[in-house]
């Protein structure tokens, strides 16, 4: 069964050692997804699999037939940016930009998780509706490192998108 990447179908039948990350970058030419640590610690390789954010460096391409994968290229284009992309530009939510695709994919999934009522470590009440305060955003985005330290602008960019949604 093929896997769908940003709505296009791909088949994977190569070396089982290839990670989803390497498959995206080398075989599909989708270099928006970045390789940082390659060990699930930095989040630069974050993509959405069936709507959920994962580290694409810690999963094998061969395991994903039938899955729907969305990378940064599938979220928006230079001519039609996703609201998160536009907000990152507006708030200067980066310096070198290497972590940005992962940050934006991660933020997209975070907003969906919160809408589904998923609590986090800093949620006072596990059962009440989730409000994405700056503290919640920081905790929920802790799997995405930014070595340039643009964190405050990243939080501002995400907060602006959340505000616009209300």
């Amino acid at each position: 069964m093929p896997l769908s990447i940003n709505g296009n179908e791909f088949d994977y039948s190569g070396d089982p050692r290839r990670t989803l990350l390497d498959f995206l970058r080398r075989d599909c030419g989708l270099t928006g997804t970045k390789k940082g640590c390659d060990h699930g610690q930095c989040g630069a390789c974050t993509v959405l699999v069936n709507g959920q954010r994962i580290n694409s460096c810690l999963t094998l391409a061969v395991m994903h037939d039938g899955d729907e994968i969305t990378t940064i290229e599938g979220l928006g284009t230079p001519g039609a940016m996703h609201p998160l992309q536009a907000a990152f530009v507006r708030h200067d939510g980066y310096q070198c930009g290497y972590c940005t695709p992962g940050q934006i994919c991660s933020a997209k999934a975070m907003i969906d998780e919160a809408a589904n009522g998923w609590p986090s470590f800093v949620s006072d009440d596990l059962e009440e509706k989730v409000t994405l305060t700056p503290d919640e955003i920081r905790e929920r985005m802790s799997g995405n490192l930014c070595r340039c330290g643009a964190y405050s602008n990243i939080v501002d960019a995400i907060a602006e998108v959340l505000e616009a949604q209300q």
Binding site: P16, A109, P119, F121, G143
Partner: protein
């Protein structure tokens, strides 16, 4: 990564058959693939169990059954877990990141391996990775290592949070064997102390697969998970405590405590639960509980701080759980 054969079994029996010497099952893969990239794990065959029917959270009488493939995210977000087993939701949410928890599974999490730096570095001796090669952590840099239950072979700690909560809850691990057999093991007996066979993390035999985790009927009372770590998010515990405490008329009616970061397995000492049950909360009582916990504690140098830290964390947790803020 070393070459391996990739197999997708068509059923549990088939998976068990494939899981012979040298093979590893893969579910979320977040720990295993990390270790394979470093040549710490070099399986000849990967048995991908993700397509097996081992998902779902369902009621089983008064108990709640978590399928082995239930992701950590799905578990912590499940309304029944949040309502009836908050210590489990809290412990899961205290570990890793949303990205990792979306992939990490209930069964895989139980089997995750130590984060001992020497285990991870194939240029160093490690009895867990290579039996008989020695232990570089003893006499080395051992800030994250065990103060309880260690041996001359291994001072590694079990790194997870989820299992610590399962120890407090006294959950059971459901295991399927190669001959079609099924057994249920108390989670408190699932992980092993290192002894002179630290290469064995748990009691799984070749061909056995975790199929699920059974949570006991929900218990009344307060459930807490306290985690002390080097930074406030995305870090392993130096010391963690899962506590379930029920108060009645100013006394502790029942208590069940489990500890992470201290040993080769989550630590449960039934003497502590017995001491607390029926007693009136006080600072002196909590000190006696810490005395029991740390009776045989032994620091390795860089981790000596864990002994007073465990005492303070335990006392703070008990003060919070009993509502006595003295």
């Amino acid at each position: 990564m070393r070459p391996f054969q990739y197999v997708r079994p068509d059923g549990l029996d088939h998976a068990s058959l494939r899981l012979r010497e040298g093979a590893r099952s893969i579910a979320g893969g977040t720990n295993l693939l990390d270790l394979m990239k470093l040549d710490v794990e070099t399986p000849s065959e990967l048995v991908d169990i993700n397509r097996l029917p081992l998902g779902g959270i369902e009621e089983a009488g008064e108990r709640l059954r978590l399928g082995a493939l239930v992701s950590n995210s799905a578990c912590a977000a499940d309304p029944r877990i949040r309502r009836d087993y908050p210590v489990l939701a809290r412990a899961i949410l205290a570990g890793a990141t949303f990205q990792l928890r979306n992939k990490a599974t209930t069964g895989g999490n139980l089997c995750q391996r130590t984060r001992c730096y020497y285990f991870y570095n194939i240029d160093q001796p490690c009895n867990k990775r290579e039996p008989g090669s020695g232990c570089a952590a003893i006499g080395g840099f051992n800030r994250i290592h065990a103060i309880l239950g260690a041996s001359d072979s291994c001072i590694a700690t079990y790194p997870g949070d989820m299992a610590v909560a399962l120890y407090a809850l006294d959950a059971a691990v459901e295991i399927a064997g190669a001959d079609g057999s099924k057994r249920e093991v108390s989670v408190r007996d699932f992980h092993r102390l290192p002894g002179d066979t630290p290469e064995k993390d748990n009691v799984l035999e070749p061909g056995e697969i975790i199929t699920g985790v059974m949570l006991p009927a929900p218990a009344a009372g307060k459930q807490l998970y306290r985690k002390v770590r080097e930074r406030s998010s995305y870090a392993f515990a130096l010391v963690s405590i899962a506590a379930m405490v029920r108060m009645e008329g100013g006394r502790i009616a029942s208590a069940a405590l489990a500890f992470g970061g201290l040993a080769h397995k989550p630590w449960h000492d039934p003497r502590i639960d017995a001491l607390l049950s029926g007693a009136e909360p006080s600072d002196a009582l909590f000190d006696r509980a810490a005395d029991l916990l740390l009776e045989n504690a032994r620091g390795q140098g860089a981790n000596d701080f864990k002994i007073p830290l465990a005492r303070r964390a335990l006392k703070a947790t008990l003060h919070e759980a009993t509502g006595d803020n003295a």
